[in-house]
């Protein structure tokens, strides 16, 4: 599904990623853990194709295609989804309009038929229900006035509706209390499937109690310094990141 080789990237002239190798197969959930500044968010933005994140070396293959040659919206239409750490508030665009525009833009890009208002509404209600996203929330401007939990549930709803092949969850646990975290994790777990891969980026082990990964990677100074099973997260929780410092390794 995703093959990252020797990935180096710069942001504003500063080298952040220093040779990442990562291979993720369909159906797998990989956690990427690391301290602040280790390059976790940079990796997620490089995968999504954000401007200003310059790849200086290495390659990324997604379903056999060269991801680096695609722009942001092409990547999304091809099946890359980034759940934002801080979803943006967009006044004046209702969540419903946004979802419909996004879904139909992706369908159009893939040469599929666009959904009319009736079919779209039916679909979005079906996807919103288990996430506890109300009609009222859908009618409000995107993320405006949403609580932290509502924003993250809205992100999971977008993911559920857009059905990406690869979902990248960037610090989805930040700003959530334990109940909100459970709701969001349940939503994510429902979307686990043999056809879908996920990258769960987190600073803390807590999220991984709820979204249990198949593989855990530790990122330090822009490189993966250790890879293991889900027990690696527990080990990190005990020993801290210092033991995995890239310079010490």
């Amino acid at each position: 599904m995703l093959e990252i080789k020797n990935l180096h990237a710069k942001v504003e002239g500063k080298q952040i990623l220093n040779g990442i190798d990562l291979h993720i197969r369909a159906g797998e959930v990989h956690a990427i853990m690391g301290p602040n500044g280790s390059g976790k968010s940079t990796l997620s933005y490089v995968l999504a194709g954000r401007d200003g994140y310059e790849v200086t070396e290495g390659s990324i293959l997604f379903k056999g295609q060269n991801l680096l040659e695609m722009n942001v919206d092409e990547r999304a239409a091809a099946g890359v989804f980034l759940a934002f750490q801080y979803p943006l508030e967009i006044p004046g665009v209702t969540t419903m309009t946004f979802l419909k525009t996004a879904l139909n833009a992706q369908r159009k890009a893939r040469g599929e038929e666009e959904l009319d208002a009736v079919r779209f509404l039916k679909l979005v209600r079906e996807k919103a229900k288990p996430l506890n996203v109300s009609d009222d929330m859908l009618k409000r401007p995107l993320n405006v006035g949403y609580s932290g939990g509502e924003k993250k549930r809205a992100e999971v709803l977008q993911m559920s509706l857009l059905e990406p092949a690869l979902a990248i969850l960037d610090e989805t646990d930040s700003g959530l209390d334990i109940d909100a975290l459970k709701t969001v994790a349940d939503g994510v777990n429902m979307l686990r499937s043999p056809e879908r891969a996920m990258i769960v980026i987190t600073h803390y082990q807590r999220l991984l109690d709820y979204i249990v990964p198949d593989v855990v990677h530790v990122l330090s100074k822009g490189r993966i310094v250790k890879t293991g099973g889900k027990e690696l997260a527990l080990e990190l929780e005990k020993s801290g990141y210092a033991a995995f410092d890239a310079d010490a390794a």
């Binding site: 954000r50 919206d73 934002f84 992706q106």
Partner: protein, 435 residues
């Protein structure tokens, strides 16, 4: 000796005044006095505070200001959506071409009882028309000098009088088509007597290097209600100068909305004066400019009496090397207690070469009032564009969504539902035309 452009208008007066409406009555000396005042002040230039951002004098140097020809034959309307924006709405349509009433393009209307519609020439001898023309809005002398030019040269216009308690049955749609180069000076008079109501749409379109000078004088009686919508989309070479002057008696209600999506250079002025308590004036607008278009919205609201409310919201997007100007002033006179005056202007720059000058002002001489004003100028958020694109929305569509979202709360204030939809569609189409 007057400066050149001013002199050209003085010359135009010399050739035309004997044939202008009201040449045999009180209006003739009034025109002469207005011309003298105009000659004294001259065409406004940038050294005047109220004209600091719009150099009308220089703009007029480049166009023919001799009277545009009277045009009674077939007229080719510009092939733009604005030409038919309100076509789906049931209205009484009255068309002016080059500033002159055009019977062939206008609806033949059987006006309801209590609604009188005349041409300017028909009413100059009537007291109500005289009253409207003679009113002074003296607090902003400089901005008003230019009205003297219109008073001296006004050639045609609509005069609408709605009797006490009568409602106009459907919107009056005034279409101003500038089909040929040259100047036109139009004066519209609107009197709504007590408890009367009306909705008026104005469309300004054209395909010429024209100078359209339009003054609309409105008086609202007690409890009268006027909804006034203006759509401005004239040619890239056209100059548009419009002045809307409204007095509101007690409990009168004015909702004005202006959408500007075209015209080379435009100055849209609004003067509101409250003369009775409990009245409301909403002076709102939106604009979307590109190329080298220049649009100046100038609004003065005079709270001379207590307990009135005024609301102004103007939002605009500027692309290319376009220039936007907003100048607004809320004047609260001594004794105008319990005034609620709000004014906000916001602009979004879509290009590095676009510019915006905003000057919101409050001038308050009463101590028990609620007044607020604000101004912002910004650009589209890169983060927001990235967020939308990361969900698969192509960049251009993402930008269109965000621009429409930005203008949305202004467009919400269009005081007519179908026209609001039509105006939203025009803005959406405007964005679609971008390269």
């Amino acid at each position: 000796m007057s400066e050149k452009t001013t002199q050209r208008f003085i010359d135009a007066y010399a050739v035309s005044h004997a044939n202008l409406p009201g040449a045999d009555g009180w209006l003739a000396p009034r025109r002469a006095a207005a011309l003298a005042a105009f000659a004294e002040a001259g065409v406004p230039h940038r050294r005047l505070e109220d004209w600091k951002y719009t150099d009308l004098r220089r703009a007029l140097e480049k166009v023919d200001i001799a009277a545009a020809p009277v045009h009674q034959g077939a007229v080719v309307l510009p092939e733009r959506p604005s030409s038919s924006a309100f076509a789906g709405i049931d209205t009484h349509k009255i068309v002016f071409v080059n500033g002159r009433f055009h019977a062939g393009l206008s609806d033949t209307v059987k006006w309801p009882k209590g609604v009188e519609r005349h041409s300017l020439a028909d009413v100059t001898h009537e007291q109500w028309a005289k009253g409207l023309i003679e009113r002074r809005f003296g607090q902003t002398k400089q901005a008003e000098d230019i009205v003297d030019l219109n008073t001296a040269l006004m050639a045609d216009g609509i005069a609408l009088r709605i009797r006490k308690g009568v409602s106009l049955d459907k919107p009056l749609h005034l279409v101003f088509v500038n089909a040929d180069d040259g100047a036109s000076h139009t004066r519209n008079l609107v009197l709504l007597e007590d408890e009367a109501s009306a909705t008026i749409f104005e469309s300004h379109i054209g395909n010429a290097a024209s100078f359209a000078d339009i003054v609309t004088d409105v008086a609202l009686g007690q409890g009268a209600k006027l909804r006034h919508l203006k759509l401005l989309d004239d040619a890239a070479e056209a100059i548009h100068l419009a002045t809307l002057r409204t007095t509101l008696a007690a409990r009168a209600h004015l909702e004005h909305f202006a959408l500007t999506i075209g015209t080379g250079l435009s100055r849209s002025q609004s003067f509101v004066a409250f003369t009775g308590e409990g009245a409301y004036a909403g002076i709102d607008g939106a604009y979307a400019l590109r190329g080298t278009q220049h649009a100046d919205h100038f609004c003065v609201t005079d709270h001379a009496v207590p307990n009135c409310t005024s609301h102004t919201l103007f939002k605009g997007v500027l692309d290319g090397a376009s220039e936007g100007v907003f100048q607004g002033k809320v004047l609260v006179r001594r004794g105008a207690q319990k005034t609620d005056g709000r004014q906000m202007t916001q602009a979004l720059l879509l290009s590095r070469d676009a510019s915006m000058n905003a000057k919101p002002e409050l001038e308050i001489y009463a101590d028990d009032v609620q007044c607020a004003h604000g101004s912002t100028v910004g650009e589209l958020s890169h983060d927001a564009i990235f967020y939308l694109r990361a969900r698969g929305i192509p960049e251009k569509e993402a930008r269109r969504l965000l621009v429409l979202a930005f203008l949305d709360d202004a467009l919400d204030r269009v005081p007519h539902e179908e026209a609001r939809t039509a105006m939203r569609d025009l803005v959406s189409h405007w964005f679609g035309e971008a390269a």
